[in-house]
Every structure is written in structure tokens, then in C-alpha cells.
């Protein structure tokens, strides 16, 4: 027995704090403490997104964050950057407009499941088709949190909510399938309990030229105590199989249709963005030079 035994994972708070401070991550935060319920998965998403933005070296002033209504909608208040808290479901149009007006800025549309897959879903397939170079993050907690626990479009069938006391009769929308079907050029899925994974996905999403859709499964600790809890999601998720090829849409769709909840980059396609298309049309028509 002596002290030369190898030190397993010891860390000291001061060293950790120095590491965090040194990384610059904190400069992407505003002074307001997030008002989400303690334990909310959105904290993990926020953390990972911040880390990804930091990793990419995007400056705060080059960042525009657009959100709709709902718990997700609060996000722009907690980040140091340009933020737009738009109307319910209307984050994507606002973000699209913003990006087209100022292509040099980085625009992210942050939407919730009610926002993006419910009231605003009319905008979603068009955003996919249009392929504007924005990152769309879907904070999917399968529930309407801000209005206190009603069914959302992604709430699983049979789940009981305040608006469906006998169970949800509808089949939930799978955002990944939906956007794959709608022609999104970048489709990924993450889980709020795995911030490191999300960080990689967000980084790739920002790097991708075109409409990048990242679906994040996140527990609502206040209104969903049975279905997508941390505990259950930890059991349900699994990384995409080793042989997965993200250039293959068929394979991506197959994985999306699989009963497993796969995490990772499903599909990625290089194709001209809306702005590039417009520019090429303009060039062909001989308008601008």
C-alpha cells in the first residue's frame, strides 16, 4: 500500500473552472440564468450548442438565433448573440428572411416540437426544399410544456396528457422521417443527455452548406414523467450502426423507419443552397455580375 498507485480520474474544481473559463465558452452566454425548469434537457442542448459555436470560432456578433414560442422560444434570452423571439411556429420564415438578407451571418432557428412540428410545420417542408443555409434545431420534448402539458405532434400514441386524458389517438410525427421525406440536405439526431454527441452534430450542422436539421430528443421533467424520461431515453437510444452511410438516402430512411432510436448523422447531401441557386439563375439570366 503506497501512494504510487495510479490516480484514477481525479479532478480538482479549480483546474476544471480554469479549463472552462479558458475555453471561452462562457462568452456565449448572456447574464440571464435560463428559466427552464431545473433538470430540463434544454440545458444540455444549450450547453452543447454553445460548445459547438465556441469550437467553430463563430463570434457572438456573427450569430443570429431565431426562435418561436414555447419553452424553446426562451433560448435567445440566454445566449450572447443576436436573437429573435418570433411568433409561434414562425421561426423558420423569420430565420430564412434573416439569412437571405445577411448571408454572411450564421443563423440558427431553434424550434420546439409544437412550434416546428405543430403550428409551424407548414413552413418546415418548404424550408427543407428551399435549402437556405440555416441550422434548424428541433428541441423535441414530446409535450407542450409552456401551456402545461398538452399533447404535441411528437407525443407517442396512447400517451396520456392533459389534453388527452385517455391517451393520444394520433400517430406521432417522426421529425427525421419527415424532413428526410421533405428533402432536407442534412439530417441528424441527438439526445439531450449526451452533450458531447450533440456538440459534434451541431458543429457538423453549422459546417454544412444548406438547411441543416438536427432533431434533439429532450425530456420534459415537469410534464412527462413516464415516456421520454432521461432514464428511458438512456435505454432507448443507440448510435447508428457502424456500416451506416450518410450519403445514402435509402439507408437513412431505413434507419429512420427502424424501431431503434438511432443517434447520429442520418443523411447529408451537398447541393446548392437557395442563395446559390438564386445567384446561378441570376448569372444565367445575365443580371448581376
Amino acid at each position: 500500500m503506497n501512494e504510487t498507485a495510479a490516480k484514477p480520474e481525479v479532478f480538482y474544481l479549480d483546474e476544471e473552472i480554469s479549463r472552462v473559463r479558458g475555453s471561452g465558452m462562457l462568452s456565449y452566454r448572456s447574464s440571464r440564468l435560463p428559466t427552464w425548469c431545473p433538470g430540463c434537457g434544454f440545458f444540455g442542448i444549450e450547453h452543447a450548442l454553445t460548445e459547438a459555436i465556441r469550437e467553430l470560432g463563430i463570434k457572438s456578433h456573427e450569430l443570429v438565433v431565431v426562435s418561436g414560442i414555447g419553452c424553446t422560444g426562451r433560448y435567445p434570452f440566454f445566449i450572447n448573440g443576436y436573437g429573435i423571439h418570433a411568433l409561434h411556429g414562425r421561426a423558420l420564415p423569420v430565420a430564412t428572411g434573416a439569412k437571405i438578407a445577411r448571408p454572411e451571418l450564421n443563423v440558427a432557428a431553434l424550434t420546439g416540437d409544437g412550434d416546428c412540428m405543430g403550428i409551424g410545420i407548414g413552413h418546415l417542408p418548404h424550408a427543407c426544399r428551399r435549402n437556405t443555409d440555416i441550422v434548424c434545431v428541433l428541441f423535441d420534448n414530446n409535450i407542450y410544456g409552456l401551456t402545461k402539458g398538452q399533447t404535441s405532434p411528437t407525443t407517442p400514441t396512447r400517451q396520456q396528457t392533459n389534453s388527452h386524458p385517455f391517451g393520444n389517438p394520433d400517430v406521432p410525427l417522426d421529425p427525421v422521417r419527415f424532413v428526410l421525406g421533405a428533402g432536407a440536405s442534412f439530417v441528424a439526431r441527438g439526445y439531450a443527455g449526451r452533450p458531447r454527441d450533440m456538440q459534434v452534430l451541431f458543429r457538423e450542422a453549422f459546417l454544412h452548406k444548406g438547411f441543416s436539421f438536427v432533431h434533439i430528443m429532450s425530456p420534459c421533467v415537469t410534464f412527462d414523467k413516464v415516456n421520454y424520461t432521461y432514464q428511458r431515453l438512456n435505454e432507448l437510444i443507440m448510435p447508428l450502426p457502424k456500416r451506416h452511410d450518410f450519403t445514402d438516402l435509402n439507408m437513412a430512411m431505413e434507419r429512420a423507419l427502424d424501431r431503434e432510436l438511432f443517434l447520429g448523422l442520418f443523411y447529408k447531401e451537398e447541393r446548392p443552397t437557395f442563395a446559390e441557386q438564386m445567384r446561378s439563375y441570376a448569372e444565367r439570366a445575365g443580371g448581376e455580375k
Binding site: 498507485a5 480520474e9 474544481l13 479549480d14 440564468l33 434537457g41 459534434v200 421533467v221 450519403t247 447520429g264
Partner: protein, 605 residues
């Protein structure tokens, strides 16, 4: 151009899987001497830090909960040597420090009584364990068999040295045997535990006074080192009229004579002068010897006395009285004590021992009758037997280097009250042991034992409901029963196993370190939400102390500054609520203990 067709996620990496696995499997134990870890113990295990011997309190209380009383006893004995004795008469510096007694947390855990239960409840065939070193060939003389001498002799024997011990009185134990009344410490307990220490091969010579029966110079020649732990046998005296009258005793003299079996006639009213433990014992003993009133007279006020509040309560429960702001001026009487003359005092400054001084007010004299006067105003080392060649203080006390405990004469060490002046039993034991280590280092030329922190992965171990268990009362003899028999039956009774286990549940187990892994944390604050105390902070930084240990967490409410969410182990009551709720399992529990470890001969670099 090869194109990547698969994006790998960090959670798929083998490292990640390995860490997940590692968290599920028991981790290796590791040891540290980092000041941040040593400092953690000092800051976060308040009972252990308050104990001069650094007893692993949470460790031994947990083993009582596990009903491993023998192990609990050993965890004590490793560092404080006399658990059964200390469990009864320790001054309990740990209990006022106990986190359970902090504002809003209730009452402190009955640490001392639990120590006693470990001793009382250990199995009959309990075997003591000692990690002996091989014989060193060195020999040491220890002068005095009180707590300090016993502490020193024990550790020296463990370290492989030959130990010879000299005691001037008839039996070993010093103040334990002669200064403490039997109603507080039964003699059989004392004899057993002293016996356990001496069994390691200590050669004890009783009725042998160094300076009279043995010459210190001879000892220096015969041994490689000499440790003087001769205690404080020279009572302090007050120069005043009547101090020599029959019926005037010093506290130590009074206690020694009663403990030797003498029935002293104390009369109707006994005035005790002084406010230490001896004064309390004298007053209670005097009441048992038939006094109607026993009044303890102190210079300053009761609030500043350096005795436990419980002790004062017991005195008063037995209808003893404590009176502040008086100075004794004279003892009155012709052939024996008849009365005392006092002056009233003004409250003065602080005395070195933490008490307040009293300054007599001119013309405030008053007289009171007295059957006996006991001057329990302390003792000091009797150092006359030490010859020249040793540096001494102005008051004639030998002095030692504060780090090595060695006097100016090489090989001559001091320990316990003899070095520090009268202190507590637990301090003396600790001092004896520390001196032994230093003497060992002196003789062997290198450090052979040191304190390190031992870290081991643990779980929550507790239930929240345990925090609301009331402190278990130990039965005491009712005041009315206390004078019965010879009057010296043990007043305080120990716990049975059921209350002992119940009390052991109350311990927060502060040696558990709850820590958030910042790298895994998602800053969701769920832990803060469920925490029962203000114990989890949004941290912007850490404050340091001069020695490199943490002084505290700098908290913030500004999201831009929240570099980490950190558990303030000082506020933490180890309820585990945070760990249970954490969605990303980033909270670890590590059991941190202070242990004595042998130092390898050639430390690897």
C-alpha cells in the same frame, strides 16, 4: 478523393464506453498528499479536523451503523488509543464542530458517546490489530505514563523500538487515574485499555521518579532518545492570607486523595476556585462528600469558561453553583477554614486559554462562610529534574522546537502537558504520538510514517429521513440516585445497541465527498432545485488558502460567469438528493479518509 461516409459520435468511442464501465465497477483506491485533498478533510470533516488526534469520526460511526463494533473500536484505537476512556471523559472538541449541530441542522451527533458504544459493544473476543514495524534496534525511554506517555510509548513500540517507561506513582495512567473521579471513569475500563498499550512490549517501572530514583543523564546515555511526558504535577498557587490553613486544598491534591480512597470532611459550604474541568470535578466530588452547597468561583464569566456546556449543566443539575466576576482575596479562619473573602470583579481581557480575566473592583470586598476551599486553578510541569543544557522558558518550563518537539538537547523530546501546559486528554494522546513519530524520524534518519488521504468510490449510504432522528439521549443516573452507594457510581450510562445504531444514522458521514464532474455537467441545475440546503453553487471560481487548499467557492448569479456548478461540501449534508436526480450522472461520491501510511524506503519518482 476518399469521402467520409460515417460520422462517429464521442459516445461511441472506446474511452467513453470505458468510463461508463469504470463508473459502474468499483474504482481503484488512490492516495493523495495534494494540499487540496488534505485541506478538504480539514474543511469538510469538521469533527475530524477538530480532534487533535484526527480521529476518523465518520468512519467509526458508519461501522457502528454496520454493527461492526470491533472495527469501529479499531478505527478509533488506531489514532486515539483509548476509545473506552475517551468515550467517557473526552472533552469532545468534535461535537461543537459537528455539522449536524450547525444552524438549522439540529443537534450535533453524540460522537463521544458513540465512541463509548464501540468500546462497550465490541464482541467479547475482540482482537486488536497493530501494524508493527520490524525491530529497529533502537531504545527509547518515556518518562511519565499519562496519556501523552502512553501515546508516545505505543507508537514507538509499533515503530519497532524498545521502550522503557518510568512512572513516579504506584500505577500507570497519570491524570486519567488520579485526576478523574470514578463516577466519570470506572477503573476497570482504564486498566484494560492501558494494558492493551503496554502489552506491545513496553517495559514499565512504577514508583520510579526520574530525578530521584533514576538520573536523567543515565537515561540519555542508555537510550537513543528520551521522551519527557511527565505531565503537570506542580499546582498553581495563590499568595494570600490563610492559604495554608487546613481545609484549603489544591484541586489535584483533593482529587488524588479522594481517588486514593480518602473520605475528606468538607463541611457545609465548599468554595471551589477556578473554572476548568478539575474545578467541576471537585465541586461534584465535594457534593458527594456531603457538602450542602458547592460554589465554583470564577474570575470572568461563565460564558467564557473552557468547559463543555453539558459539563456545567451536570454540575448545576446536582445543585452545584457557578458564580462569576469574583476574585478570592483571603481564606479566613483560625485553625482551619471558616470563611472566604472575595472581591467583585470587572470583566477584563482574554486570557491565553480563552477565558476572560476579572479585574477586582476596589472596595468591593465581601465575606462568605466556607467549610473547605479548593484551589483548582491549574497545574504546570515540574521540570526541576531536568538539568542544564536544555533551553527553558522564563517560567522555568523546558521548551521544544515546535516542529520536531525536540529540546535544545539532541535526543531529548517533550510531549503532552509537560510541553504545552495543562490541556486535554485527547490533546495529550495526540501530542505523545506526534512526538513519537518525530523521535523515530530523529533516530532513523528519515520519515517513516505520514498522513495521506485515501479516496475510494462510494455510494450515498444514507437516507434523508435519518437527518430528522432526534439525538439519542444516553441514560444518566437521576440526580436523586447519584449520592447512593459509595456515591461514586458512574453517572453516565452508555447506549445499548439499538440507540447506538439509531444515533449512528444521524451522522452525515462527512467523509463522503459529493462532486460534480464539470466535464459531464450540462448545467441544468436540477440538483440545486432538489438540494435541501444552499449547498450547490453556481461557481465562478475557487478561493484558495495560503497552504494551497480551497477556502471556498465563489458563487455568482450571472450566467456568463457560471463556469461550473459545484457542490459546497461545507454546506452539504450528504443526503444524495442531487446524485439521485442528476440526468447525466455526473455526480460522484468518493469516500475520503485520512490515514497513516508508512513511507516507502526509496520513494519512486
Amino acid at each position: 478523393m476518399t469521402k467520409e461516409k460515417r460520422l462517429y459520435l464521442p459516445s461511441e468511442s472506446e474511452d467513453f464506453q470505458a468510463t461508463i464501465r469504470a463508473r459502474q465497477v468499483e474504482q481503484d483506491v488512490y492516495f493523495s498528499t495534494d494540499p487540496r485533498d488534505l485541506g478538504w478533510i480539514a474543511e469538510n470533516i469538521p469533527c475530524q479536523a477538530a480532534c487533535p488526534a484526527l480521529t476518523n469520526v465518520p468512519g467509526y460511526i458508519r461501522t457502528i451503523f454496520e454493527e461492526r463494533y470491533g472495527r469501529s473500536y479499531e478505527l478509533n484505537r488506531f489514532v486515539n488509543l483509548l476509545p473506552g476512556v475517551l468515550g467517557r471523559i473526552c472533552s469532545r472538541p468534535c461535537e461543537p464542530a459537528c455539522r449536524h449541530g450547525w444552524e438549522g441542522n439540529g443537534e450535533p451527533v453524540a460522537i463521544c458517546r458513540l465512541k463509548r458504544s464501540a468500546a462497550d459493544l465490541k464482541p467479547l473476543g475482540h482482537r486488536i490489530t497493530e501494524e508493527m514495524f520490524g525491530p529497529s534496534g533502537k531504545s527509547v525511554a518515556v518518562v511519565g505514563s499519562g496519556p501523552a506517555g502512553l501515546g508516545a510509548a505505543h507508537d514507538l513500540a509499533i515503530l519497532g523500538h524498545k521502550v522503557v517507561m518510568f512512572e513516579s506513582l504506584a500505577e500507570p495512567g497519570g491524570m486519567l487515574r488520579y485526576g478523574i473521579p470514578a463516577f466519570r471513569l470506572p477503573r476497570d475500563v482504564l486498566a484494560t485499555e492501558i494494558g492493551n498499550l503496554l502489552r506491545l512490549g513496553v517495559d514499565l517501572h512504577c514508583n520510579t521518579r526520574v530525578g530521584k530514583d533514576v538520573d536523567i543523564e543515565d537515561l540519555m546515555k542508555q537510550h537513543d532518545a528520551v521522551i519527557l511526558a511527565a505531565g503537570t504535577l506542580k499546582p498553581n498557587r495563590i499568595k494570600m492570607p490563610g492559604a495554608g490553613l487546613p481545609g484549603v486544598y489544591t484541586g489535584l491534591e483533593f482529587m488524588m486523595r479522594v481517588n486514593a480512597g480518602e473520605k475528606i470532611a468538607v463541611g457545609d459550604v465548599v468554595h471551589v476556585i477556578g473554572g476548568g474541568y478539575t474545578a467541576m470535578d471537585c465541586a461534584r466530588t465535594a457534593m458527594r462528600l456531603g457538602a450542602r452547597r458547592a460554589i465554583i468561583n470564577v474570575l470572568g464569566t461563565e460564558d467564557f469558561l473552557q468547559v463543555e456546556k453539558h459539563e456545567l449543566f451536570e454540575v448545576k443539575l446536582e445543585r452545584g453553583e457557578v458564580r462569576g466576576l469574583v476574585s478570592i482575596q483571603a481564606v479566613l479562619g483560625k485553625d482551619r477554614v471558616e470563611g472566604v473573602r472575595f472581591k467583585r470583579n470587572r470583566l477584563g481581557g482574554f486570557l491565553p486559554n480563552g477565558e476572560r480575566d476579572g479585574i477586582p473592583i476596589e472596595g468591593s470586598d465581601f465575606e462568605e462562610p466556607a467549610g473547605a476551599v479548593i484551589l483548582a486553578i491549574g497545574q504546570q510541569p515540574d521540570a526541576e529534574f531536568i538539568g542544564a543544557g536544555v533551553n527553558k522558558s522564563e517560567r522555568g518550563r523546558p521548551t521544544a522546537d515546535p516542529k520536531t518537539f525536540m529540546t535544545s538537547r539532541p535526543g531529548l523530546f517533550l510531549a503532552g502537558d509537560f510541553m504545552t501546559g495543562a490541556a486535554t486528554i485527547i490533546k495529550a494522546i495526540a501530542s505523545g504520538r506526534r512526538t513519537a513519530w518525530k523521535a523515530d524520524e530523529y533516530m532513523m534518519g528519515r520519515q517513516r510514517k505520514k498522513l495521506v488521504t485515501r479516496h475510494e468510490k462510494a455510494g450515498i449510504l444514507r437516507e434523508r429521513s435519518w437527518d430528522f432522528i432526534a439525538r439519542q439521549e444516553a441514560p444518566t443516573l437521576k440526580p436523586a440516585e447519584r449520592g447512593q452507594g459509595d456515591g461514586f457510581g458512574e453517572v453516565e450510562q452508555g447506549y445499548d445497541s439499538a440507540p447506538a445504531r439509531e444515533e449512528s444514522k444521524r451522522c452525515y458521514l462527512c467523509y463522503l465527498k459529493f462532486e460534480i464532474d464539470v466535464g459531464r455537467c450540462i448545467y441544468c441545475r436540477w440538483c440545486i432545485d432538489v438540494a435541501p440546503k444552499d449547498c450547490i453553487k453556481l461557481a465562478r471560481g475557487v478561493k484558495f488558502k495560503e497552504d494551497g487548499s480551497y477556502a471556498g467557492i465563489e458563487a455568482t448569479e450571472d450566467w456568463r460567469e457560471v463556469a461550473a456548478i459545484a457542490i459546497d461540501n461545507k454546506e452539504c449534508i450528504r443526503c444524495g438528493a442531487c446524485l439521485k436526480i442528476c440526468p447525466v450522472q455526473c455526480i460522484d461520491v468518493v469516500k475520503v479518509e485520512l490515514i497513516e501510511q508508512p513511507v516507502a524506503e526509496r520513494p519512486r519518482r
